[in-house]
């Protein structure tokens, strides 16, 4: 391996202990998802299905985001974010008293706020503020869950954590296309309406979620106009693949926000709830994950993950099965919904398999070159 840090354990060996809980949380989250779909599978405990949301959003992605920021800043204490989130996930999965895992997850969110402040000090820019608000949303959601708020009330804050984090990153990238000064005001207003709606929803879910839906739609329309993906989709290879995945994500964000505006409160855990949540978490968030794995895995683990055109396959499967799922939600076709949901997970697992094989092959390929060079 082209050694960067000289002697000592490789980057993969150093970072994997922090990444592993995230991957375990993903697998446990997927398992609990299958349980929620009503598949006849063994559940580890009676409450396991209820862990689906927190494990996917905070266990998997919270740990992942925290790890990315820690690698970026390179400061020891910032690694406490993925450590806390990872430990919290494992505590929940292992069936320890839930307060332990919930507290650790809440601590992770609070620490991410501190990390966001540090980032803002290095670069006082409004895109960092938006990402920081995402960290605040994580903390609010986790603390609410710790104090026994119903998941249906916690989930909007979990969604806000991911939406604001990703939107902040896309705003940062959008600087490359030189948007006008007015664009900043527009996006900040959209974010304010979005967060304002979530706050109002604490007292009146119906009114608040419609407002939040409006703010979400405004953010999406802004991104459809100013995201670099509109330019980079014209390029080839990995760049076009990433842009395609992002733009597809904005379609689902539009669907989710319009549904929120029209339907308002997600009454219980029914089809409307399922549709809005998975349009956001699968259509937008997982599409973004599929897009960036070839960039993030090398950055975090030091493992090459070359883009291959076959990566379009799980991407297409994800979006096609999501479309089927949402149509099933709309007409109340339970069996179709169940199958579509299972195929959503197949798409994710397929992507993981393709990513791992791509990484293994790339490792084997570069080793002979390194030996030849030394």
């Amino acid at each position: 391996m082209t050694g960067t840090s000289g002697g000592g354990p490789s980057k993969l060996a150093r970072r994997m202990p922090l990444m592993a809980p995230a991957l375990i949380a993903l697998l446990a989250g997927l398992w609990s998802g299958l349980l929620r779909l009503g598949l006849d599978l063994p559940d580890l405990r009676t409450d396991f299905a209820g862990l689906h949301g927190p494990l996917m959003v905070l266990g998997f992605l919270g740990t992942q985001v925290g790890l990315e920021r820690a690698v970026a800043l390179g400061r020891g204490w910032t690694y406490l974010v993925p450590a806390a989130a990872g430990a919290g996930s494992l505590a929940l999965i292992l069936g320890l008293p839930p307060e332990i895992g919930q507290t650790l997850l809440a601590v992770g969110g609070l620490l991410l706020i501190a990390v966001s402040v540090a980032i803002h000090r290095l670069q006082p820019a409004w895109h960092n503020t938006v990402m920081g608000l995402g960290a605040v949303a994580w903390a609010i959601g986790a603390i609410a869950w710790l104090f026994d708020a119903a998941l249906v009330d916690v989930v909007p804050w979990l969604a806000a954590f991911l939406v604001l984090t990703i939107v902040g990153e896309r705003i940062e990238l959008s600087r490359m296309v030189n948007p006008p000064e007015s664009a900043r005001r527009q996006m900040l207003a959209a974010v304010a309406v979005f967060i304002g709606g979530l706050v109002v929803a604490v007292w009146s879910a119906d009114v608040g979620l419609r407002i939040a839906g409006g703010g979400l739609l405004a953010q999406t329309l802004w991104l459809l106009r100013y995201d670099v993906a509109r330019r980079t989709i014209r390029m080839g290879g990995a760049t076009r693949y990433m842009a395609t995945a992002m733009l597809a994500g904005y379609f689902w964000l539009t669907v989710a926000s319009v549904t929120l505006i029209v339907n308002g409160a997600l009454s219980g855990y029914g089809f409307g709830y399922d549709a809005v949540l998975h349009a956001i978490f699968l259509g937008f968030v997982f599409s973004m994950i599929f897009a960036h794995a070839p960039v993030i895995v090398p950055a975090i683990l030091g493992v090459k993950l070359p883009y291959r055109p076959v990566f379009y396959l799980p991407l297409a499967l994800l979006h096609a099965s999501l479309a089927a799922r949402l149509v099933a939600d709309a007409v109340g076709a339970t069996e179709v919904w169940r199958v579509a949901g299972a195929v959503n997970e197949v798409a994710i697992l397929l992507f993981l398999v393709l990513a791992v094989t791509s990484a293994i092959r790339a490792r084997g390929a570069s080793a002979p070159q390194a030996r030849a060079a030394s």
Binding site: V71, A72, L173, G237, A238, A365, P368
Partner: protein, 140 residues
């Protein structure tokens, strides 16, 4: 018949690298400039031109055009490259460093490569060159 899977994927990776470089520089202008500069030896100017092979995967644009390469100096065959990233929240600096090292190590007479991440002065979009601005659709 006869090429191993490892060789196949090594070749695939090389092809993708060449394709990314070609996409970022369709007329091969950078490659020709590099050849010309190397005729005078491996100078900092040649190194800077060579760094156009390091490409941001999301944008399909090289780090020199993006204005991320701040300074390239040479002492006793060892290159010191001062570079920046567009945001301190970006975890890609280690990957970019690896690519800077790999890229410059391929040049003749290079004994070492030291990339150094700097944040001052902060990166601004205006530091992108004409090529990058055109690719990203800046007005006019």
């Amino acid at each position: 018949m006869g090429i191993t899977p490892d060789q196949h994927f090594a070749r695939l990776e090389q092809e993708q690298r060449r394709a990314a470089i070609a996409a970022a520089d369709p007329e091969g202008a950078s490659g020709r400039r590099l050849e010309q500069l190397l005729e005078n030896g491996t100078t900092p100017e040649a190194a800077r031109e060579a760094l156009r092979e390091v490409i941001d995967p999301e944008l399909g644009i090289d780090i020199v055009s993006l204005g991320l390469v701040r300074d390239v100096t040479l002492a006793d065959g060892e290159f010191v490259v001062q570079y920046t990233v567009t945001t301190p929240a970006c975890p890609l600096s280690e990957v970019i460093e690896d690519e800077i090292r790999a890229c410059l190590s391929r040049l003749p007479d290079v004994t070492g490569v030291q990339p150094r991440l700097v944040f001052d002065p902060p990166w601004e979009p205006e530091q992108m060159d004409e090529q990058a601005r055109a690719a990203l659709g800046w007005g006019g």
